[in-house]
Symmetry: C2
Subunit: 530 residues, 2 copies
């Protein structure tokens, strides 16, 4: 006789409460392929409606609070994450199969709390809002909160890009907005734990209870309704291209800013001089990058471009040997496994040669490490198909006969997050660099020299973005404070507004003594008339 199952609650208006939904789902442990016990509800519109109503209220109350209080919340939340790292990493490991150490507890976890602390510092200082003052005309402007932000987190970074803990969350909160998190359904338990810590931090620092809310899943129709609701301010989405484009269409229709991170094959150009000079080192670097996290990184090097020649053959052969010798890592879910096999199949059917791997492992959530190869000529006949993203531990090498042909391949690339050119230290590749770089730069958000794309530092100078379809708008970054915060803000101008009525950042006196403001065409930390 079955025990009555208690469904997990959703977090709405500061309270863990039963969802209005009756349908449920379970997460899966990818290591064991066994479902995990908790039953998570599929929310109905009633849940969304309640969350939106509470978020509107929270948004109004957040606007009345000093930014320092929001900063305090982010710092407190970061401390709570650090203090609970063992439990968080264990939960995330069960749901994603990502290793507890170093990945979850020593890399992604600290990155997450560090990012929250950077967001806290940015909120406290206010420079992110680009306060701009024209003293002669008494016109002043700055970025302000945009309203409730809906965050859809991806499957591959349960903490650092998580819907209630990651980069979008940190940026949206730093801008002064409440967040409604839509958990990635592959790690609901991890997200639930993080939401609980966020709730606790909000309570400890006196933030509105609905500053952070959490639902786990909705119908597609309710998802579209949520992102296009009048009360929604903006949306952050990281995930599959297909689902992202559906949400984008719904949000675009009603002019809601939606920031998407969709897909990227991250081309790496291996120039012949570099391969001759340091071929084995490049194999090492590439292997680390392409297999890190079982290749499930947005910036995974899925496409390698090289010129035909012995050094390229040596590179390919070394990679193939090492890929074949390496035991494949566990993938995030059977669905990732299926998509990866399907993508490899698409590439093979298009004419790519399968050098190794390509098969799912029996009884494991894994696919053999996969290397494919094709010619530039073939690529140019079907450029779209050959840019199929094989999300996971796989990469396609495109071999061109000439530099011009390689340049032509670059010209046919879709928008990507990153592009890399490895060239010789001795200058022997330099004649080719300018033309290739000038084409590649236009197609990527970040151009790298001589290093692999998988490290995405949380730096003010980072751009984790790029032209469509890598993202929805090439002017924004999802990583890197303060720039990432702009996405969740509206520009507001105060024209002739009386001094005492101006927001703190725009009053004559520098609000912190160290806030950078653009006053009469100069960036300064001085007061107006100071």
């Amino acid at each position: 006789m079955a025990t009555a199952v208690q469904n997990e609650p959703v977090l709405i208006a500061g309270r863990w409460q039963a969802s209005h939904g009756t349908e449920t789902f379970q997460a899966l442990n990818p290591t064991t392929l066994e479902p995990l016990p908790p039953q998570y509800p599929v929310s109905t519109w009633e849940d969304c409606e309640a969350a939106l109503a509470a978020a509107v209220d929270a948004a109004a109350r957040l606007r009345q609070l000093p930014a320092a209080r929001i900063a305090q919340f982010l710092d407190t939340y970061a401390d709570l994450i650090d203090a609970n790292m063992a439990e968080i990493a264990e939960l995330a490991h069960q749901e994603t199969a990502l290793p507890i150490e170093p990945r979850l507890a020593k890399v992604e976890g600290p990155r997450t709390s560090n990012q929250l602390r950077q967001a806290a510092a940015a909120a406290r200082e206010g420079t992110w809002a680009m306060p701009t003052i024209d003293t002669k005309l008494n016109i002043r402007s700055c970025y302000e909160p945009i309203g409730p932000v809906i965050v859809f987190g991806p499957n591959n970074f349960p903490l650092a890009f998580g819907s209630v803990s990651g980069g979008d969350f940190a940026a949206a909160i730093a801008a002064g907005n409440p967040v409604i998190g839509k958990a990635n359904t592959s790690h609901p338990g991890t997200t639930r734990k993080l939401a609980e810590l966020a709730r606790q931090a909000a309570s400890q620092t006196g933030l509105p209870e609905a500053t952070v809310q959490l639902i786990y899943r909705t119908s597609h129709a309710d998802g579209e309704r949520l992102v296009s609701d009048r009360r929604t301010g903006a949306v952050g989405y990281t995930g599959s291209r297909k689902a992202g484009l559906v949400l984008k269409a719904a949000a675009d229709k009603v002019g809601k800013p939606i920031y998407l991170e969709l897909s990227s094959v991250n081309p790496v150009v291996m120039l012949p001089g570099a391969l001759r000079e340091r071929g084995e080192k490049l194999v090492d670097e590439f292997m680390t990058s392409v297999l890190m996290g079982t290749g499930q990184f947005c910036t995974n090097p899925g496409l390698v471009l090289a010129l035909s020649g012995q050094e390229t053959e040596t590179f390919i052969d070394s990679v193939r040997q090492r890929m074949s010798a390496n035991e494949p890592g566990v993938l995030l879910s059977p669905s990732v496994q299926q998509s990866l096999v399907a993508a490899v199949d698409t590439l093979v059917r298009a004419g790519a040669e399968l050098l190794c791997g390509g098969q799912a492992r029996q009884g494991r959530c894994a696919v053999e490490n996969t290397l494919l190869r094709t010619s530039a000529e073939a690529f140019l006949r079907q450029p779209e198909v050959f840019q199929t993203e094989a999300f996971g531990n796989a990469s396609l090498v495109v071999v061109a006969d000439t530099i011009d042909q390689l340049a032509d391949v670059l010209r046919h690339l879709e928008g990507n997050l990153t592009g890399c050119i490895c060239s010789a230290e001795d200058g022997s590749d330099d004649p080719h660099y300018p033309a290739l770089a000038s084409i590649l730069t236009q197609r990527v958000g970040r151009l790298l020299n001589d290093k692999m794309p998988t490290g995405v530092a949380v730096s003010p100078a980072m751009n984790h973005g790029g032209p469509f379809p890598a993202t929805g708008h090439p002017g924004f970054t999802a990583v890197g404070i303060p720039a990432s915060i702009h996405r969740f803000a509206k520009l507001t101008c105060y024209d002739g507004v009386r001094q005492g009525r101006l927001p703190w950042l725009l009053q004559d006196k520098n609000p912190t003594g160290s806030t950078w403001r653009y006053i009469d065409g100069k960036w300064t930390t001085a007061d107006v008339d100071g």
Copy 2:
């Protein structure tokens, strides 16, 4: 026997050439209601294709030029506009009926050349690109040209917002992009003259010939194809909401940034203390603002909110008397006239009381100065209908019984470019200000105190933007350099890129000695290590 008519040429790839289109249209002189002789072609896709191909080439060549050369072009073009102001103003007057003096020759013309010179200065200095450097990680980023920009200019500012001379044009060029101008079909001759001056300036300063191109009209289908073409970088559109939303849908679908300025009723709250204190002065200011340019401004005060009471009745009656006594100005076109009459009719059918005007003038392109009135209660029953934009010399006064009801009206406003609160100098309205301002600020791009919204200064602190449907994204401004330039740029990050390969703005040495760069969290004009 009819003389064979020579159609006006389009400007493609630096040459005035016959359009591939055979269909033509003529502009109309709104003062005489007579068609003007020149026949302008409706371009077919062949024209668009040729313009796009030339623009791609120009974009690549512009990227190789120093920014100072682009600045030189903008300055030269500004000088040519000033030198040809008499002819430009005469042409624009014929096509729009806007007065030669002061409007065209003394106000809009100088604003246009001044704006181009500000764009030149911004391009030369480079601060607009927000060069950001992380010296520790050697990650550097800045904004770069986004690619060919299509600009659709509005009917109401033939020069300052014109497709080849206005704010979008100046911003797109300053960012380093070529522009394909789509003339507003109500002033093709003015736009042609301006394009000729731009072509001349490009030739004098050695810019690619296709830096500025011009077509006059396309089919709707070709317009959608143009904005969504793979080669298009971004789009600037100012015009009707309906046409704008069709272009937005096409551009959004393929992730092309499109910046729109669509419609706005620009609410003005007249608080009772202000009306008691300086009622006649407010009537003067309002009259000037609402009838300026026959009310055909994006920031025209089309909606007045006031509390019921004697001072409001006095205000309304004064405005009504003065509107009735004033001869209405000529409108931009019969189509503007028809839309205005239709909008007034919509408001009246919704229950608004017509206090004066509302009728088209027989045999003239004009509508009587129009004032309407309704109650907040009625407004709240049909908030969407009562926000119908009556583009032209018309305004609707909404009278609320209580401040709470007035606040409720504000809560039901769509996104607007501006919102204004007039309050007493003596502080008697101050108790009401915070609540009203906090609601209004969220619904507008620019909040004004005690001044009318029609002046849009070209200031770094200006925001000519606002939440949907005023524009397509609340984070961008169409007026105000340097911020307006960001719209036509992509963010590009250089990660570990060798020093000699970095763009000029990101090299260690400050490129001009005066460019502001965000280095390791501080804005500075110093060199790296400087």
